[in-house]
């Protein structure tokens, strides 16, 4: 109790909360973007795509940044959910928003739970490497499987995905889809923020920092991990469905290690364990590649430049871009009040 009071007092004295400021800035920028870019449909489309991918990046951040689960398979949940809604559109001719988005989330959740059972809830305590390779293998195997399965389009993937419907309105890329993606991103963000700043978040932070110690204290560490992993899978599923509807296309490459790794990079580039970091990372990387690919002099080798930039960030600035403005103290953050009853016990 005493420490909690102390923490609060110390926080009260802080003149400036950088993380909150960054969050507010990002919200303002994303809300203002369509007003500033009212005649640039192409940039709105790009930004919509970026927001959808940043939901994927957040799902990775929940795993890695907050719970220390090295998941190299977030694209798997993303891709499978994207395929499921594309198939539902193709074979059942159904794409009503209230039905398909929960379906996609459920798909991601269920699939991630199955993975969690195998990778995390086994008899032996899994190492970080085991989980990393387990998820990577899952992602890779799924990509191979799908690219050979003719019912789901094999190497072609699924194109001409049925448009997402809200009443009689059909979402095609543009301002309405932007608003939808922003809304989803906002809700996911608030939900994640609530979780990581709650008492559950405190346990997760403990697991991330020192798993064994938490286990000695009596926490069933793997169950907590499985919980977060499934939740992250659900978010990735939502992101995959939105992507599929927005692009009108989903292919084997959307569930493979390539995209899984890209999600990792978004998160690291922006700053893991901050939630807003992955969003900034996604925006920065996508904008950078959009811009770099248009400069004549470096057109041939811009992906290499991009890769080197990432390498430098990962090696010399492990806390990502946000690490430049947000202190470690603030990044670790403070947690919601303890339950009174349990405190009395």
């Amino acid at each position: 109790m005493l420490t909690a009071v102390k923490t609060r007092a110390r926080r009260g004295n802080r003149p400036f909360r950088a993380l909150l400021a960054v969050e507010l800035f990002v919200v303002a920028a994303l809300v203002a973007a369509p007003l500033l870019l009212w005649d640039r449909l192409d940039l709105i489309t790009l930004l919509t795509n970026v927001m959808i991918l940043s939901i994927l990046a957040i799902s990775f951040d929940m795993c890695w940044g907050f719970s220390g689960i090295m998941s190299f398979g977030q694209a798997l949940f993303f891709g499978v959910a994207g395929y499921v809604i594309a198939l539902v559109g193709r074979d059942l001719d159904y794409s009503v928003i209230w039905g398909v988005l929960p379906l996609a989330m459920l798909t991601g959740l269920a699939l991630a739970f199955v993975f969690a059972v195998f990778l995390l809830l086994g008899r032996k305590t899994p190492s970080a490497i085991f989980v990393a390779f387990g998820t990577l293998t899952g992602s890779y195997a799924a990509e191979r499987l799908v690219s050979g399965w003719q019912y789901v389009g094999a190497g072609n993937g699924l194109s001409s995905v049925k448009l997402l419907q809200l009443g009689s309105y059909e979402f095609i890329e543009g301002y309405q889809f932007y608003a939808l993606a922003l809304l989803c991103l906002g809700l996911v963000y608030l939900m994640c923020r609530f979780i990581v700043r709650s008492q559950l978040g405190l346990v997760l932070a403990g697991i991330r920092q020192n798993e064994e110690r938490l286990a000695f204290l009596g926490y069933r560490v793997q169950v907590f991990k499985a919980l977060v992993f499934s939740f992250a899978g659900m978010i990735a599923g939502l992101s995959g469905a939105l992507y599929s509807y927005h692009q009108g296309f989903i292919g084997p490459g959307n569930m493979g290690p390539g995209l899984s790794t890209t999600a990792v990079l978004y998160c690291l580039f922006g700053g893991a364990g901050t939630l807003v970091g992955p969003v900034i990372g996604t925006v920065a990387l996508e904008m950078l590649s959009y811009g770099l690919s248009d400069v004549d002099a470096i057109r041939q080798f811009w992906p290499i430049i991009l890769g080197l930039v990432l390498l430098v960030v990962v090696m010399f600035q492990p806390t990502g871009l946000l690490g430049l403005v947000v202190s470690a103290r603030e990044r670790i953050g403070s947690y919601g009040a303890r339950d009174r009853r349990s405190a009395r016990i």
């Binding site: 191979r144 094999a154 190497g155 009108g248 959009y290 890769g307």
Partner: protein
Amino acid sequence: MNETESTFTTSRRGLLGGAGALAAAGWIGGTAGSWLLRPGWAHAAGPIKMGIATDITGPIAGAGNADWQVAQFTVEQINKDGGILGQPIELYLEDTASDPKIAVGNVRRLIQERKVDVVLGGITSAMRQAIKDPIVNRGRTLYIYPQLYEGQECTKNLFCTGPTPAQQCDKLIPYLIKTVGRKRFAMPSANYVWPQLLNKYARKVIEANGGEVVFEEYYPLDQAEYSATIGKIKDGKVDCVFNTVIAPGLLPFAKQLAESGFQRNGGVLTCVYFDENILNFLPANVIDGSYSCLDYFQAVDDPFSKQLTEAYSKRFPDTKYLFTGGSAATGTSRGIKFYEAAVKETKGDLHRDAVAAAMDHGVIANGPGGGSSMVPGHMHCTMNMYTAACKVVGDKAAYQIVDKADMVDPREC
């Protein structure tokens, strides 16, 4: 405690560094770049904007670069002769990077940012299927697809200017069976829609002509190990391989087939997209003696085709991307010419419906390999078809024409 923490950070950094290295190795693609070819002069109504979406990078780049060069060449010629009714064509290129998921985003740039009047491109059928929706339905833009393909693409406002299975198989397969004398066919294929549907058609033609299909198999596009397939070819006494494996799996397959001595022992390799450009994908020794059937080969000696390829070689001296049939280059040239003819007919009206209506009965008198005309209501066109055998001379692949059919009907839609 310190120890636990330090191992933790090591593995953390190690994994993450690995991810960065992967990105540096170019394993992780992003959006790819765009190029622009501006005409040297202007017109009051502004230029006609034409978008080219093709594979400048990735496994199919060997064909995509040829298409881009041919598009530049054809448009430059049109602009030099005064454009279309005085309006010059401005050419925009987006790289589809041999990857449909990148392509979807890039093609949208053509539509939304460049606001092009027509999009021409896509090589593999996987690519066409991925980009046709953003172009034709969501983007409400005219789309011309230039590559030989499996047929059955009957989307409104999508015109196909490459050969269809009927155009490619109806002459080639009877020739292989009756003249070359090969009867036992194997169909190793990449697993996507083009090989599946083409094989279905080819199998019918093979069986109707007294041949036999020993096996028909599908592999992931990037499979690198084909010893099981080669074994089956040997065991099944296959004497003709009807190949529909494409890059990147093509090189390992063709090499392993040649190394197994298949051709040395009298086997024949045939593939309907092999052309003079194939040396961008395969070494010369594995394609020597193979058969193909396309709308144009450089050995075709009608004066117009000769003059066209000569002008092209002058524009791109020493290029390794040639003006050929199997890489969609001839389809690209034909598509641009059909578009030109259509806009002439609409008297400069660039609206999609008007241009599409004019294209529907378009005729072009001359082109690589001969003229061509749209079959009204069918979105496909007739063209001359040539069956040819590959002879490697020095480091060049030359094709000798062994059979020709005039103005073959596409028989689609």
